[in-house]
Symmetry: C2
């Protein structure tokens, strides 16, 4: 993994290290007590927030850059980051905001400063287990924190749109890829899994419909029922079938057509 | 729409016009007599083929660039191009191939020639009505032609991978977005629509399953049955409901969850 640049070098000579015109933004969703969170940074001296993003080294694969940036902000390794869209509006990265941000660092700002050029940004998202993350701000930010998806603060640039489209992409993804592997303990009930789907979709689901569909995908293994000892019927436990889960992640879930 | 550059200006001073580091490749699928075709170009003096692609003007939206490149190669306007992935491998655009291609044009080649730098490419795909297309090569190519998806020739760079991933993305898309609007006459039978799905998926589908699912999406309107006069039962005709079709294109098809 590439090392991050020292900040003075980053601010003054970034153009020597990074691919021009291209940035990358990670939308990191966290699942916590049936709530969906998103990880945001607050740049110094600003009241608005931004997504954790960065740039691609000239000899770095773009997926590796996304993973490096995720690790820097969260400490997380080996998370499956899903590239979902390029945001390429001509006006998305121009204007006075980046100039203001640069001013807070005391950088000498020329009109052709590399950070003032047009950037298209590649959006990635990941759904991570909230309590495994240790959010920490970089030196250009006050704070790095989780925000409830329904209560996010004002965001800079087009980052509000990027969050919305990441959420929409993740909701569509539920229809053709499995989800939940890194969010649940090894054994879980169908109700646990249904909660994840409900949290992402932001609405309640019919239980028998959900069970029928999810079992139909063939990605779950039913465990031997354990003696519960209680008066109530204990629910069956399941685990993900590693083989079929990752096959479905690659090829899509089985469909009627 | 931006005008294409004259070729000498393109080859020698392209860096003054285009966003650095970023190219764009269109995978144009054509539907014809229940076969799936893909539109390819053969560069001069090469036996291999490439996808129709290009670059993004410094003040051009990326979606507009995709549409401009599509129009230049096919004459088609108003086609919905679906951005599906960025290909960002560090070695994808390097090597000797671009240098050879440049040599065929007689361009003076320096080591820092803009076309010899690293490019990431944004992949778009579209599914178009084959017989509305008039393929024509640009001045750097011998030929622009449709190829059967199962018999495509050897491709340069990572274009084989781009075609494969476009096809996979289109197949996944069938599960959450409607398809077929620009491929069928105003009124059609369910069997006509099933043929499109079968062609994209490359396999036969069960008819009653297909009918149940496609009608369940609520994107079709049943037409009044017309007197057929024949001995056989005429099939019902349908048309797309413009309102629900484009809503589903935007928000995804209705699902059980």
């Amino acid at each position: 993994m590439q090392k991050e640049l020292p900040s003075v070098e980053f601010l003054t000579n970034g153009q020597d290290y990074f691919l021009p015109s291209v940035s990358l933004d990670n939308v990191i969703f966290g699942f916590h007590e049936n709530e969906l969170k998103v990880l945001l940074l607050q740049p110094k001296l600003k009241k608005e927030w931004v997504l954790p993003g960065g740039f691609i080294f000239k000899d770095e694969e773009i997926d590796d850059a996304a993973a490096r940036i995720l690790k820097t902000r969260t400490g997380l390794n080996n998370i499956f980051l899903q590239q979902f869209r390029v945001f390429g509006g001509t006006k998305r990265s121009r204007g006075t905001v980046m100039r203001q941000l640069l001013q807070t660092t005391g950088t000498k700002i020329t009109n052709n400063h590399w950070l003032l050029q047009r950037f298209i940004t590649i959006g990635y998202y990941a759904l991570v287990a909230y309590d495994k993350v240790n959010p920490h701000p970089d030196e250009f930010s006050n704070e790095c924190a989780w925000w409830d998806i329904n209560k996010i603060p004002e965001l800079l640039f087009d980052h509000q749109q990027i969050v919305e489209e990441a959420l929409q992409a993740m909701r569509l993804q539920l229809n053709y890829q499995p989800i939940g592997y890194n969010l649940l303990p090894k054994e879980f009930t169908l109700k646990n899994l249904q909660s994840i789907y409900e949290t992402i979709l932001g609405r309640k689901l019919d239980r028998s419909n959900f069970n029928r569909k999810i079992l139909g995908y063939g990605i779950l293994e039913k465990k031997e029922k354990q003696y519960s000892g209680g008066a109530h019927k204990a629910p069956f436990l399941y685990s993900f079938s590693k083989k079929t889960y990752f096959k479905a992640l690659k090829n899509g879930l089985d469909k009627d057509f």
